[in-house]
């Protein structure tokens, strides 16, 4: 079977900042309800225009599932690794809690989970995607901002979107090669 390369494409013009994705993620992944604990977030973009004609975008984010992930490079015990589908994961039992990956991630995508005793991050809901389902945040999004799929499949929706539309990635200058794409 051909290897997969999972990715997510965002159409931020559809985001209404309802934060259903954050709630769904916390429920799906049993994330302890503490201030710093979250796998995904929504950033408010800058205000555009002049009062009273104003515009603003909301930018959802999470682990960028980088092809060149600094968190994997810095982990002293190889607790952070990339699986066959290109998802960056943490092997909880190997995590020593040095938090080097947290300082190395340019997207602030990681936090320390006291319950699991390891650094935690978005896994593209690996427990769902490994059995052919889509991540909880994608499933719950009321305006369909998020599209999830396999970039190695030219017929997938993500492949088609990225062929048809121009897109950007976060902090491309750092060379992390993110697999979260934002349509522009």
């Amino acid at each position: 079977m051909k290897k997969k390369r999972f990715a997510m494409v965002f159409d931020i013009s559809k985001c209404i900042d309802c934060k259903a994705c954050t709630v769904a993620c916390k429920a799906e992944n049993n994330i302890p309800l503490v201030k710093d604990n979250y796998r995904n977030w929504i950033t408010e973009g800058p205000l555009r225009g002049k009062y009273p004609k104003l515009g603003q975008s909301y930018i959802p984010g999470q682990c960028m599932q980088c092809a060149n992930p600094p968190c994997e490079h810095v982990c002293p015990t190889s607790a952070t690794y990339v699986n066959v589908d290109g998802i960056v994961l943490v092997d909880n039992k190997k995590c020593i809690g040095c938090k080097y990956c947290m300082t190395a991630c340019p997207y602030d995508a990681r936090y320390y989970n006291e319950k699991t005793g390891a650094v935690d991050k978005c896994t593209f809901c690996v427990q769902r995607t490994s059995v052919g389902r889509i991540p909880a945040c994608v499933e719950t999004c009321p305006t369909k901002v998020r599209v999830f799929g396999d970039l190695n499949d030219p017929e997938s929706e993500v492949s088609k979107l990225l062929t048809k539309h121009p897109y950007r990635v976060e902090k491309p200058e750092i060379g992390t090669q993110p697999f979260l794409f934002y349509l522009v």
């Binding site: 810095v74 982990c75 190997k94 020593i96 602030d108």
Partner: protein, 383 residues
Amino acid sequence: MTTTITNSKNIIGFSVLGLGTLLGLVSVGYVLMIGHSNAYNLTRQIPWGILISTYVFFAVSCSGLCLVSSLGHVFGIKEFEAIGKRAILVAILALLTGFGVIAMELDHPFRMAIWVILSPNPLSAIWWMGTLYGLYLILLCIELYAFIKENHRLASLVGLVGFVVAISACSNLGAVFGLLEARPFWHGPYLPIFFILSALVSGCALLALIVYFNHSLRGIEMPPEYKKFMITLGKLQALLLGILLFFIIWKIIPGLYEKYPGIYEATMAALSGKLSFNFWFFEAFLGLILPFILLLNNSTRTPFGVMLAGLLTTVGVFFMRYDMVIAGQIVPMRISDGGKATGVLHYVPSVAEMGIVIGSICACLFVYVLIEKKFDLSHTGHH
């Protein structure tokens, strides 16, 4: 009469250090009971705090002590031969204390001991840090053994290997920060090089303290060879401080020049923001400028003056490590709140973090003074 005064000084000294150590132990117990996240003021945005900077302080001091003492038993500068054994002993204690502090920072120090061996990642600077400082600790113990047995051939040989490992270990510790492209204030080859120079400064400062207090606390007059050593050490330290001053200036200027995002905000936090008192008062004035003046001036470059300069520099270097660790994380990774930068982040060490830091310093001094009291560490010279 003198003996009575010395005894009462000893009792007071041991009581203060003992109380400090006890404070550290209580803090450790508190952290183990309520957990890191409740005891430490760390966040997902500032995951490294004062325990990391204190570890850096101890580890780099350890390297510095060996580098400076190697001037004697490796490079053959006569004046420095007298201090080899004490320098190595304090280096070992500093490194062990540093390991203790970082063990309290790690959430799972025992997992570390297993997985750095079973699942190593040689791409990680922290993996190299553990490996190099672990190897270094072994070398230091062999070196101390060689000194005790007065095997100068072995001491020189291990000292030479130790010299290479000391530079590798402390520059690699700089690389722990310098390799992170996500943190512009740290990123680049500057920190590994800076750590080597600042290790030498730390080493000279601590040696001045060790030699001075070793005589004054015993109530004995300093022999001429040690006085001569103190003056030479003072001259060397003046040179190193002068160079360090320019290292710091050249860290600041590029930080301001093009207002590069991440570097500019962190530099401004040190110059006029949340870290400015630390920077100007402790790091620049107390740690650098005042000792530099003391050591340049012939009338103040006395054993007492060199000791005082060493004490001020040691305090300054402690704050230098803290400022470096915090400044690198103080700029948020994400712009939020309506697109405006929220400015810089906030971090103040918690009571438990401070307790562990004070405890670690006191414990290190306590054990050192105890060993000085129980064992004869005086130099016997080459045969």
